[in-house]
């Protein structure tokens, strides 16, 4: 249970954080997270899309279909104000968690 919640929490903050920088489509979101985490965080389709749909319905992000110059349609996700509001408390929670883990298990983040 904790593991699932922790994983979901990790994914939520990761997605919100990359969308804070710019709107991205699903594949770019997963690539950006993988790149920025040095390959430590990887999303499968089964993890990414259910989470994006959940966040969209909560009003944190919005996906809009866009057609590129070469005619390909892709759904681009944009961070909404309510999603932006979620980021600060999520970051504070994670900072608390890191501090607690440092004290309890002597875990240091790089």
């Amino acid at each position: 249970m904790i593991r699932t919640e922790l994983k979901r929490g990790t994914a939520e903050i990761a997605i919100l954080s990359v969308l804070e920088q710019q709107p991205l489509h699903g594949y770019e979101i997963s690539r950006r997270i993988e790149r920025d985490s040095g390959g430590a965080l990887r999303f499968t389709l089964a993890a990414l899309y259910p989470l994006l749909y959940r966040m969209e319905k909560r009003g944190w992000v919005r996906g809009d279909w866009e057609t590129s110059d070469n005619g390909r349609r892709r759904r681009c996700y944009k961070l909404l104000p309510s999603g932006r509001k979620m980021l600060a408390p999520l970051r504070a929670e994670w900072a608390d968690l890191f501090r607690a883990m440092r004290r309890v298990a002597r875990v240091n983040h790089a």
Partner: protein, 222 residues
């Protein structure tokens, strides 16, 4: 290049979502796989290896289908509560409390054929207040991003609850009192439908429609 949409259609199977939503999900997944494939190819990976690597991105289609359905149904339940149940219950309890208040204040309804069990009752003060409640239900539902049926149901909620109650009462009456004349039961039931469902529904719908027209006009003006 492989047809990734056909690949998704083959593997994802039937997803219990509205057709348009299901098509969008499939198209989005196919686009993701196509992007992954093109990226691998740009990096010099051979076609067969790229296809193999992309196909590995989904370890379990069943898990993906379940995840999508869970996410969509969670949203569906949340929407149903905020767009239908909360506005509907506010409308229902508000209108019923006002009916009790009018009754306590001694405001009497206009009754046609008094004494007749199938008399028609016009509870005018209450009926005239119903457009406000219909508008309130519609407003709360619209504010929760409701549209179409949930908005209408939220504003008509008091009438819908009465319809459900009357159906239960009719069934119980017919089952418990088998000697009751079917003609009398149906005429009483018909009068109750007019008094407590049709008339309130008309006034509730009037309020809801006026509110929606006003909001549309305001949106057009903005």
């Amino acid at each position: 290049m492989p047809d990734w949409l056909a690949y998704v259609n083959d593997h994802l199977g039937r997803v219990s979502l509205p057709e348009a939503e299901s098509l969008q999900v499939r198209e989005e997944l196919a686009t993701h796989l196509e992007d992954a494939y093109l990226s691998l190819r740009e990096n010099g990976v051979s076609e067969s290896a790229a296809i193999r690597l992309v196909c590995r991105q989904v370890s379990s289609w069943q898990e993906l289908r379940r995840g999508i359905l869970a996410a969509k149904s969670e949203a569906f339940m949340q929407n149903r509560v905020s767009q239908l149940w909360i506005p509907g219950l506010v409308t229902f309890f508000g209108s019923e409390v006002l009916l009790v208040v009018f009754d306590v204040l001694g405001l009497k309804p206009l009754v046609f054929h008094p004494g007749d069990p199938s008399s028609i009752v016009f509870y005018f003060p209450w009926l005239l207040s119903l457009p406000l409640f219909g508008a309130l239900g519609a407003y709360l539902s619209l504010r929760a991003r409701g549209q179409g049926l949930p908005v209408h149901c939220a504003s008509l909620f008091p009438a819908l609850i009465m319809a459900a109650v009357l159906i239960v009462v009719l069934v119980v009456a017919l089952v418990l009192d088998r000697h009751a004349s079917f003609r009398i039961v149906t005429s009483v039931f018909a009068a109750a439908i007019i008094n407590w469902i049709c008339l309130p529904a008309i006034f509730l719908l009037l309020g809801s429609t006026l509110l929606q027209l006003a909001m549309k006009r305001r949106a057009a003006a903005d």
